[in-house]
């Protein structure tokens, strides 16, 4: 008979391999700061003013293409990403950014889902602990079936209808 921990060995190995794979995938080398990559990511953040919610990178419209050209020019002129973003917000307002900012009211759109999720997890944990608290005598399967059958007759349906 093997030691009880022995059967966990393959699972630990599995977890390690998975971690290595994820680690390798997560390490993309240096961040891509080439002008092309910056253009790509900036134009994905800017909203095409004449379309319906598309980014200027996606939109085939002439306005969007003009903005792409402008952003390319600004990158070539040495402006930083932040400066380019600010310039657009200056002209068009916050609306031009497809991703809401991390400040002011916009912060809510980021925080509320996280708060909601935390709350949900909390409720679930409380519910699970309550549901797991068990009476000392666990009913047998027969008990349970009997109770459920009676309960089912009483309040459930079928054609009879208790109420």
């Amino acid at each position: 008979m093997r030691a009880p921990w022995a059967r966990w060995v393959p699972w630990v190995a599995l977890a390690l391999i998975a971690a290595v794979a994820v680690g390798l995938a997560a390490n993309p080398g240096s961040r891509d700061d080439s002008p092309d990559a910056r253009l790509e990511s900036l134009t994905r953040e800017l909203r095409c003013p004449t379309c319906q919610g598309l980014s200027v990178a996606d939109s085939p419209s002439s306005t969007a293409r003009a903005i792409v050209d402008d952003v390319r020019r600004r990158i070539e002129a040495g402006e930083t990403d932040g400066e380019i973003r600010d310039a657009y917000v200056e002209t068009w307002g916050e609306w031009i950014l497809l991703e809401p900012q991390n400040s002011g009211v916009s912060l809510l759109v980021w925080l509320l889902p996280i708060a909601g999720l935390v709350l949900g997890v909390g409720v679930l944990v409380v519910a699970l602990t309550r549901w797991r608290r068990e009476p000392r005598y666990t009913p047998t399967t027969e008990d349970r079936e009997l109770v459920e059958r009676v309960r089912g007759r009483k309040e459930d349906p079928g054609a009879t209808g208790a109420r």
Partner: protein
């Protein structure tokens, strides 16, 4: 004349709703079966009214009766018959009419299915609820969304035709009806949920009765959403299929809560838990379909789909408020009856997985809802305009989607109640190894990005788990009954269609998830300017511009470029991306030309027609695996059909059953392969 018949039918339908509600209400009050039977008949009167109204509208459209405002605005002599017929849903009034027809159809089917139980208060209350919803839509149709309004003044001799985007692709004929079949289908379980709350019969009966309707509605909604994406991909020309547009989100929202529901309903069926939650999910799903209609049809958000704007918004919002208040009020009123005898034996169990699933779907829905309405709220409250777009939704939903994918892979193999470590090890050994090895291979082959690699791993994990479940069941069947493999497979599926249908749906989800992930990371898109017979190479595909021509039809003027696509010397054919101009719009509408392939699509758009020097600008995108999105959607629908299909076991049970009352303690169509420790078959 036609307007009079159509409007008359709507008046008749509205009156039938009122009379039906009165008769059923009185019948319930006095416990008078005759009144209940009478009230039920009005459902069929409503159905007749809706069919007549739609038939009159189609007749008017097809015969170009421009004395009707709707036809004058959405029809034209030049529009092909196919698109003329489909222009029933080209604009607001017709869409609501289609909604009405589908609602009436569902009500009729429900009344027919429960024909033997018409005097059951549960069914009567459900019918009242259904008729009340129908009444609301008749009121819309009689007032702000009247499709039979006559044109003021001189009857025009021709009309502008539907919005160009709606007469550009045959998918437009299927996408909206499918979506509506899904949207409206959720009315049926909603009706029964309200009826259960009103009558206090909150056991599992109402839920089992409407399970098929809910699952089928879900399937239609899934297909509707996928077809919408496909239409967007084939028509809009930006190369994508989903832009987190508010109206796309509106279709996704009820899908998310509906998906949560069809999972959590199983917990209630098996364990009698989550009663309040399931009722809330159904009411929320129904509310979200109304909210979706509000977002689409009131013009409140500026979006691709806001083809129409109308005064209908406030009424929809009011109806939404009424439904929400009534629903929440009823749940609060029945609070004591809803307290369920919940018990969870182990955190590692199927029911716990379903709870986590529901939490995640609820979070997903919350993110989508918040992101969609947030700009509206800020604008309304602060008079500031801001955008919540794709980057936000991508970032927020990615982790949730990953967690859901993991649960989807793991949960079907978890037994109900509790389990031993050994069972878990045995069930997960092979899928987990295959999943992890897939990740490793993907990384070694050069895949980068955590999400990317995880999707591959989870997909392999899920598929192996599903294959294992099918394999085990089929093997044991064929060895016990000596059946051949295909026979055993067929009988396994029909023996428990719900389980195996569900697993088939999961296969579809895996396909969609992998396709989305691959598409997001390996698409290449470039713009090329080419003169005649010049070529450019994008991601291994060589495109050669051959020339262009212009075709003028009554419907549109199309300027098309002929582009030869080649790969590694193989000629893949000539494709014709085009720009069309329709008489009713000055803006050119691009029509992409897509070479659909099993591993990748070549997506060509004509960005600008030939200039003076004869050069065109083409958009060339190479999008991997896109076709698997549509295939995955098809597989999901196939699984849905299996899941609602006839079950060999339940028909056997029905044959055996002697008493009229179904025994709910019996696990209805649970899974046969995993009797958990506490679940020894009697």
């Amino acid at each position: 004349m036609r307007a009079a018949i159509g409007y008359g039918a709507l008046v008749w339908g509205g009156a039938a709703c009122v009379l039906g509600i009165v008769a059923l209400g009185a019948g319930l009050r006095r416990s008078d079966d005759r009144l209940l039977l009478l009230g039920r008949r009005f459902v069929f009167a409503v159905l007749v009214a809706a069919v007549v109204a739609v038939a009159v509208m189609e007749w008017a459209l097809l015969s170009h009766d421009f004395s009707l405002e709707y036809v004058a605005k959405n029809g034209s002599l030049a529009t092909p018959v196919f698109y003329t017929a489909a222009s029933l849903w080209a604009s607001l009034e017709g869409s609501i009419l289609l909604w009405m027809l589908i609602l009436a159809g569902y009500l009729g089917l429900t009344a027919y299915r429960f024909r033997d139980r018409a005097t059951d208060p549960l069914v009567a209350w459900a019918t009242i609820t259904g008729l009340a919803v129908a009444l609301f839509f008749f009121i819309l149709l009689l007032g702000p969304a009247n499709p039979f309004r006559l044109v003021a003044g001189v009857v025009p001799t021709d009309g502008p035709g539907p919005n160009p985007l709606l007469q550009n692709h045959p998918l437009m004929a299927v996408h909206p009806p499918m979506l509506y079949l899904g949207y409206v289908g959720f009315t049926v379980p909603f009706m029964f949920a309200i009826a259960a709350l009103v009558t206090g019969r909150l056991g599992e009966g109402w839920l089992i009765e409407t399970r098929r309707a809910a699952v089928l509605a879900w399937g239609f909604l899934t297909v509707g959403i996928v077809l919408g994406g496909w239409w967007s991909y084939e028509v809009l020309g930006w190369g994508g299929y989903w832009a987190w547009d508010p109206v796309e989100n509106a279709s996704l929202l009820p899908w998310l809560t509906g998906t949560a529901y069809i999972h959590s309903v199983m917990v209630q069926e098996r364990r009698g838990m989550l009663r309040v939650w399931n009722l809330s999910l159904l009411i929320a799903t129904f509310c979200l379909t109304i909210l979706g209609t509000f977002l689409t049809r009131s013009g409140v958000v500026n979006s691709v789909h806001s083809f129409s704007e109308s005064a209908i918004g406030p009424m929809l919002l009011l109806f939404l408020g009424v439904v929400a208040v009534v629903g929440i009020g009823l749940i609060a009123w029945r609070g004591d009856l809803l307290r369920s005898h919940g018990k969870i034996d182990s955190v590692v169990s199927r029911e716990s997985a379903f709870l986590a699933n529901n939490l995640l779907f609820a979070a997903f829905a919350f993110v989508v809802l918040l992101g969609t309405v947030f700009p509206l709220l800020v604008e309304a409250l602060q008079d500031r305009r801001l955008s919540v777009g794709e980057p936000y939704f991508d970032r927020m939903t990615l982790p949730i989607g990953m967690a859901l994918l993991f649960l989807m892979a793991a949960a079907p193999a978890l037994p109900w109640r509790a389990t031993s470590g050994e069972v878990l090890q045995r069930r997960f050994r092979v899928p987990a190894w295959i999943g992890v090895l897939t990740m490793l291979v993907a990384v070694l082959l050069g895949t980068r990005g955590v999400a990317q690699v995880l999707v591959f791993g989870l997909a392999a994990f899920a598929l192996t788990g599903i294959a294992q479940q099918f394999g085990m069941a089929v093997r044991s069947r064929s060895s016990v009954h000596g059946e051949k493999i295909p026979v055993a497979l067929g009988r396994t599926v029909t023996g428990n269609p719900r389980k195996y249908g569900g697993l088939v749906v999961h296969v579809g989800v895996v396909l969609v998830a992998v396709a989305i992930s691959v598409g997001a990371h390996w698409s290449t898109s470039r713009e090329v300017r080419l003169g005649e017979n010049e070529s450019a190479t994008v991601a291994g595909y060589t495109v050669t511009y051959l020339g262009s021509d212009t075709t003028v039809t009554e419907q549109k003027t199309t300027s098309a470029a002929q582009v030869r696509v080649e790969r590694g010397g193989d000629d893949l054919g000539v494709y014709e991306p085009a720009i069309s101009t329709f008489p009713n719009s000055t803006q050119g509408i691009g029509t992409p030309s897509v070479r659909t392939g099993i591993t990748r699509d070549v997506y060509l758009t004509l960005i600008s027609s030939p200039n003076e020097s004869g050069r065109v600008t083409l958009g060339v995108a190479v999008n991997p695996m896109v076709v698997w999105l549509w295939i995955g959607g098809g597989v999901m629908f196939l699984g849905t059909l299996i899941a609602v299909g006839p079950s060999a076991r339940s028909s056997l049970r029905r044959a055996r059953r002697t008493g009229p009352s179904p025994d709910v303690s019996e696990p209805t169509e649970g899974d046969s392969t995993d009797p958990g420790p506490a679940e020894v078959p009697a």
